[in-house]
Amino acid sequence: MSGPLAQYLVLAALLFAIGLAGALSRRNAIVVLIGIELMLNAANLNLIAFWRYGPNPEALEGVIFVIFSIGIAAAEAAVGLGLIITVYRHFKSTSVEEFGELKG
């Protein structure tokens, strides 16, 4: 497959891979959360690209789906950062190495 849709899909795959690499290798929990946000955004880009180049661009499903996805990402960021602040208060660090002690 080639053409504009493939370009957007490859770009989204690259964005996803960058976010994954960061989430897997960085130590700081906030940067890990940023990586997760990047992966979510790559998925959103895929949804918009498929909607735009799909067989039925009059339908609104693609845009609506992305709006809901962005809303969920906002809620996730708020709760995730709240958790990070709480854990920081306990361990005085945001390194994910420390979080291993949270294992029940």
Partner: protein, 167 residues
């Protein structure tokens, strides 16, 4: 159209790479803002005006500020040293490049072609609002409930134990 795509794609990828590679957290967040802005531009390029502006409002406006606040509240005495070359780093890079290669090959080998791109749909905000209020009213209400509970939950989690009270 095409050159706009390349410029925005470059901006987005550069922003993402910076967000994952800068040592200082402030630089990471600023780079993330560049990445989100590039994505909003890509949405506009794809004729999804409403999604692009929502992306700009929610991500560049709200999420980035939220991350900055969390960063300021958890200021580390030491900037966590980046260990490029450790096993974790190689592991992350290896898994990520594997995932990218698999996805890219899947896209290139796919039979699915783009539909004819002659007709450009331009969904108005009015149409989106109407369908949010009719077809998608149940998901919309569920989203409202989720956002409310996330707001309250984040406050309760981050507030910490009360003075002299039970945690």
């Amino acid at each position: 159209m095409q050159s706009a795509f390349y410029i925005l794609a470059l901006l987005t990828i550069a922003g993402a790479l910076g967000a994952m590679n800068f040592k200082r957290l402030v630089h990471c967040v600023l780079s993330l803002v560049v990445c989100f802005a590039g994505l909003a531009g890509l949405y506009l390029n794809l004729n999804a005006q409403f999604a692009g502006l929502v992306q700009l409002l929610v991500y560049v406006g709200a999420v980035a500020i939220l991350v900055v606040f969390a960063m300021l509240l958890t200021r580390n005495a030491e900037d966590a040293p980046q260990n490029a070359g450790s096993t974790d780093w190689y592991l992350g890079l290896g898994v990520a490049s594997m995932v990218f290669l698999i996805l890219a090959f899947a896209v290139q080998g796919s039979e699915l072609g783009a539909a004819e791109t002659g007709k450009l749909s331009d969904p108005s905000v009015k149409a989106i609002g109407k369908s949010l209020m009719t077809t998608y009213v149940l998901p919309l209400e569920a989203m409202a409930l989720l956002l409310t509970s996330a707001l309250i939950g984040a406050v309760v989690i981050a507030k910490g134990p009360e003075e002299g009270g039970k945690p």
